[in-house]
Structure formats: C-alpha cells, structure tokens
C-alpha cells in the first residue's frame, strides 16, 4: 500500500484519533491551537478513500525566510508496525516540501525499550551504572527496533537527547501500566514511601477536587497558576504565563471534556498541590504540577498523583504517563531525584524511538542545525 497524504479538517483528524487506542496529546488538532506561535496543519494518510493515518504538523519559520521546519511532536500516528515505512514517509516528505519545509522533525510514538522500577532502583544503587542504556532492559520492543532500523536506512537522523533534557520532547519517560490492573493492584505496586504518604495525606484530611479550569472554573486555573509560579520561584525554573494555560484549557477542553483536567489538593482550605492531567483515549498524562512550600508534611503531591491515577483507572486508561525523565542513573546528577520520585510509583522507565530529522534542503537544514547547536 502506498498511501497519499493531504490536508484534512480538524474533524477528520479527530475522527482518526478516536479510532486509536493511544495517541499523544501533542498530535491533537487542539494542540495546534495551543502553539499559537506556529502555523499548523492536520495531515491525513489515505489508502484510497480510507483515512489510515494522521499527523499534526507545526511549521516553525526560519528567521527572515519563508522556509519552515515541519515538526510533528510525538507523531505522526501511522502504522508503525509496517516494515515498509518508506511508503508512508515519502509522501509525507513530498507534501511538506511543497509547503515550504526545509526539513522534517518527528517523534514516532513507538517504544523501543522498557526497564522495571526494580531495575531502575538497582541501577541507581549501582555505581557502575551511569545511564539507563547501561542496564539490560526488561523488554526490548521489536516494533520499535524496526522503526529505528528503518529510519536509519531511510536517511533520517536521530536527534540526540543524551544528556539532560533535549530541546524537543523527551525520549525517556516514566509510565505506570494500568491495563488490567485495579486501584488495589496499582497501590500495591508502589513503594512503601508512596503508600505511606498517600495514607498520610488522607489522614491529615487533604481533599482533592477536579475542575475543567475554564468558564465558571476559571478561578481554579488561576489558583493553580499562582501555586505554579510559587513552585517555579522555589525550584528555579521559568514559569509559563497564565494565558498559555488558559489557551490550553480552552483548546483541549473544548475538543474533548476529558482532555484537560485540573486537580487541586486542599488542606483546611489551603491549596497545597495542584496538577494538570491530560488524556487522549487510553493514554493519561500528568502534565504540569505545583506544590506549596508550607504544609509539605500533609503530602499534597502524593494525594494529587493518586487522585489522577484513580481517575485514569476509572476512565479505562492503559497507561498513566509521568512524562520525561533523563536517562541518567548517576545519583550525583541533579535529575536523579526526579527519576527516584517517579520510580516510587512502581511503574517502568520507557524509551521511545526519539526525535528524528529528515533534511529536505541540505544547505538550509545544515544552517538550522548549526544555529540550534550554537543556541544549546
């Protein structure tokens, strides 16, 4: 089958996404609206009249030139099990070239390796193990290996995310598998500290409420944002503005009421933790989080995570995704604390195929590549 590629409407795009068990929220038409700085386009792969694949393309313009990097974050959603990927990727490249793209960047949503929480824990304790890749994985995914193998032969270039967080989407994430597991199963899989903290929050009287964060609930979004700005100051990162979250809540929430959910943990009326959960089909994410510096002993963060997990289980999700981790297992590394926290959920470290570039105009692509390297 050699499919054709053309622009589709957001409705067609959504229809294709809803036929899938899993797709990234970065591939929803709504995400194109969140990324207001870039032009976006929904693409469809057609086998005759049948829509067999879809993708959200963000066009990032080169300074002063009408040429673009076409970016499909955590996408596109194709038949990645095929061993004839060229048939699906060649018409994509052709279409994007016609749109003025000098290069394509994508992140195939396929897993290549998985490591259990126990293995990651051992790795953290073993001084000889510095990185996830030094550890033999619990599972190697043949489909993912086949994608990597084919992209290499087809001239795509892997975008390294070796150290720290790369500019693009993380290649390594932490996920809690939920398929076929009850709340009790998931709780039992957590480490003792997590279970104790969840219990502690409950005893202390922490209450978690959910909200859409828009319309009448707009005040909740503002409350989340205030706490998030406070967290950013404490943890030294640059916060996004409230407008960004408003756009996100509106775009995602309008597309599907389950897409965007705020979770707010309060203790005696004080907001102690707040998070944004996102879900597409059977894939649920913990997207943004904030916590207070006061009252840390009531364990609002654990309470709000548990609430999101329960909601995901109730919604029939297969995966609860805590998003990016760095591949470091060196306890000295500043990122190791993050992976340690996530490991407590008893899930698994998951490696995706990562982001890949296909240069369409070699000269422009080389200039862009150099520019990105200088910036980094």
């Amino acid at each position: 089958m050699t499919p054709t590629v053309r622009t589709i409407s957001p409705e067609e795009h959504l229809a294709h996404l809803s036929s899938l068990r899993s797709a990234s929220f970065l591939q929803t038409p709504a995400w194109g609206e969140v990324k207001t700085e870039w032009r976006h386009e929904s693409l469809g792969w057609f086998d005759g009249d049948r829509l067999v694949g879809s993708g959200l393309v963000l066009y990032r313009q080169l300074p002063r030139l009408k040429r673009y990097l076409a970016y499909l974050p955590e996408g596109p959603d194709l038949d990645w099990t095929s061993d004839r990927l060229a048939d699906q990727l060649a018409p994509l490249a052709e279409h994007l070239r016609a749109q003025g793209a000098f290069g394509v960047r994508m992140g195939p949503p396929v897993v290549t390796r998985r490591w259990s929480a126990a293995q990651v824990k051992e790795g953290l304790a073993d001084p000889a193990v510095r990185r996830l890749g030094d550890l033999t994985p619990t599972v190697r995914e043949p489909v993912g290996a086949r994608v990597v193998s084919q992209l290499t032969t087809l001239g795509w270039r892997p975008q390294g995310s070796d150290e720290g967080f790369a500019a693009g989407q993380p290649q390594y994430v932490f996920q809690v598998p939920l398929a076929g597991r009850s709340e009790a199963d998931v709780l039992a899989g957590m480490n003792q500290l997590w279970r104790r903290n969840i219990k502690k929050a409950d005893k202390a009287g922490v209450e978690v409420t959910t909200s859409t964060g828009r319309g009448d609930d707009e005040g909740d979004l503002k409350a989340f944002h205030d706490l998030y700005v406070h967290t950013a100051e404490r943890d030294h990162f640059t916060p996004r503005g409230l407008a960004y979250f408003r756009t996100m809540a509106d775009a995602l929430g309008t597309e599907d009421p389950d897409r965007f959910r705020l979770h707010l943990a309060r203790h005696e009326g004080d907001l102690v933790a707040a998070t944004i959960a996102v879900r597409v089909g059977a894939h649920a994410w913990y997207s943004y989080g904030a916590s207070s510096t006061e009252k840390r002993d009531v364990r609002g963060s654990n309470a709000v995570q548990w609430a999101m997990l329960r909601e995901a289980i109730a919604a029939g999700a297969d995966v609860y995704d805590l998003r990016g981790i760095t591949p470091t297992l060196d306890p000295e590394d500043s990122h190791a604390g993050l992976i340690q926290f996530k490991v407590g959920t008893g899930g698994e470290a998951v490696e995706y195929a990562g982001e890949w570039d296909l240069p369409l105009n070699r000269a422009l692509y080389a200039a862009f590549d150099l520019y990105m390297k200088r910036r980094a």
Binding site: D83, G133, D134, T136, P142, A145, R146, V148, S149, T152
Partner: protein, 349 residues
Amino acid sequence: MSLELSVDGERWRTHLRAVAERTPGLVPVLKGNGYGFGLHRLARRAGWLGASTVAVGLYEELPEVAPRFPGDLLVLTPWRPFHEDPADPALAKRVVHTVSRPEDLPALLERRPGARFVLELATSMRRHGMTAAELWALAPDLRRLGGRLEGVALHLPLAHGGHLAEVERLLTDVVAADLPSRTVWVSHLTDAERDRLRAAYADLELRPRTGTDLWLGDRGALRVTSTVLDVHPLRRGDPYGYRGRTAPRDGHLLVVSGGTAHGIGLEAPQGQLGLKDRARSVAKGGLDAAGLSRSPFWVDGKQRWFAEPPHMQASMLLLPQGAGVPEVGDRLDARVRYTATAFDRVVVS
C-alpha cells in the same frame, strides 16, 4: 632439517586459558592451515580449553576436526545448494550451518530436515549476509520451515575498538526481527567492546568467534626457524642459481630450508593503507624490479635479501661481506604469516 614452528607450550597454554577466561561463550575458530599449527592440533586444543563449539571455515575441513573435538561445529562459509555437507548422520547433528541468503534456508531444510543453523546478517564488510529487511521477512516463516535456529551471525570488519556503533545498529536489526533465539555469534570485538555489550545486552547470549587473537595472540610464545643447509663464499661477478645471476658484490650465498611449498616468498596484497606504508611498498617495488626482494629470514640480526626467487623447498640468500656467517646446521629466525605458511614440523614444548 626443515622449516619449523616451535611453541613455548607453557606460555602458549597460559595465553589460551587467559583468553578463554575473559571471553565467556568463546568459539575458537580453526580453519585453513590451522593458523600454522594444523587443524588437528587446534581441534584437540579447543576441546582442552572447554569450548562447547568451534568454527571451521569450510565443510571440507570437518573430517579433520570432527574426530578430535567432541562439541558442536559451526561452518563459517555460508551454505549453498552446491555444497556437499557431511552425510554421516552423527556428524550432521553436531554441525551448525550458516545461512546468508533467504532462499537458502528452505533449500537447506529440504535437504537436511531438522538442520541447525545461524542466520548471517550483512555487516559493513558486505561479504556474505542478508539485509535487515530480508531477515525480518524470513523471521515469521522460521517455525513453519522447521530446523533449529541457533542465533544470528555477524562478521565484522577489522576495526579495533571502533565497532560499537555498528554492532548496536546491527543488534537493533536483530531485535527488530523478533527471533526465537537470543544468541549472537560475533567476530572481531575488543574485550572492552564485549564488556560494554554484555552489560547493555545481558539478555542476549554473545558467542565471540576468535581465531588470530586466540591462537596467535601471544607471538612471544612462537618461534619460526629455518635450517642453514649450505654456505658458499661469493666473489663479485660469480654466477649462481637457477637463473645464472651474478653476485653484485663479495659476500656469501646461503641455502636455507623453506621455499614456495611452505608459502615462503609468496606475497598477498598488503593490508596497510597509510601513506608511509605505501611509500615503503613503492621503495620495495624498486628493489623488486632490480630482481631483489627481502626474504623472511634473519641472519646476524638483519632481515636478508633473497639471492633469487625461492625454490620449492629451499631459498637462497645473499649475505654481504662483514656479516657474521652461520654454519651449516645453524637455525635462522624467520618472520612469516602464520596463516599462509605450511611448516614441516610444529613442536610444542
């Protein structure tokens, strides 16, 4: 007396044991002239080392190896429909065939139902082996075709220490095939590369195939000698040899054991590609053109020139005036390619 390889047995065996100890899953390679030692000797030595499998180059080498080694026998040359593999059913059970083209697998299994085989994947060497796509296409049919898959074989080019990227790419191809075997037979990895792979791929069973680094890895344990058979004084202008050459200056003519029948004076294209190496060959070519070329024999601390092209079992050397003259019966050191030399005697102490 003859062209002789003498082996410091204690030192050689210590080296072999050390290699075996630091190379779990070692598959000793014995092929061709048995690296100068002879196939029969290496076969017994591989058994003594405790190897479960040895690799031979050709089906034709099996009869010499099989009676002297009790384990499995991997044949490195890929099976082709025109190959005559052993008819002896007892031997057939021990043989592991190498299959490097998808169409050869059904043909092999039709001829030898239940045969054991490895699938060879093409490497950057591009000698034998199937592409990743061919391997993937074959994988789902393995059960239906029968036989016993013993793993995937990789034959890497010589690139000391520079293999990891290629191996990781090839292992990705192997994982992508989702085969019912996790064994990878691989050549030419350094110890450091193997250690890296063993840590990151503990779920794969590595079978390192090793020939040269095993048998010839400790050159200090090996000594090649030739015997001085005759010594004649030469005056400038004296004629000598089959070809009636005349002596360029005063000196001695030595007749020593070792000729073309041993592989002496037969040259293979040089492996070196560096500018210096090429300059050296050009210089050497000039001497070749003058009818002189360097012999592998050492007399009085120097590598000496052939007086004329080597004979079948002996060679004539020119020894200039002033050099120490050996006596008939003395032994001379020789530097030869072990894989291309047939020794008259191999003596292991």
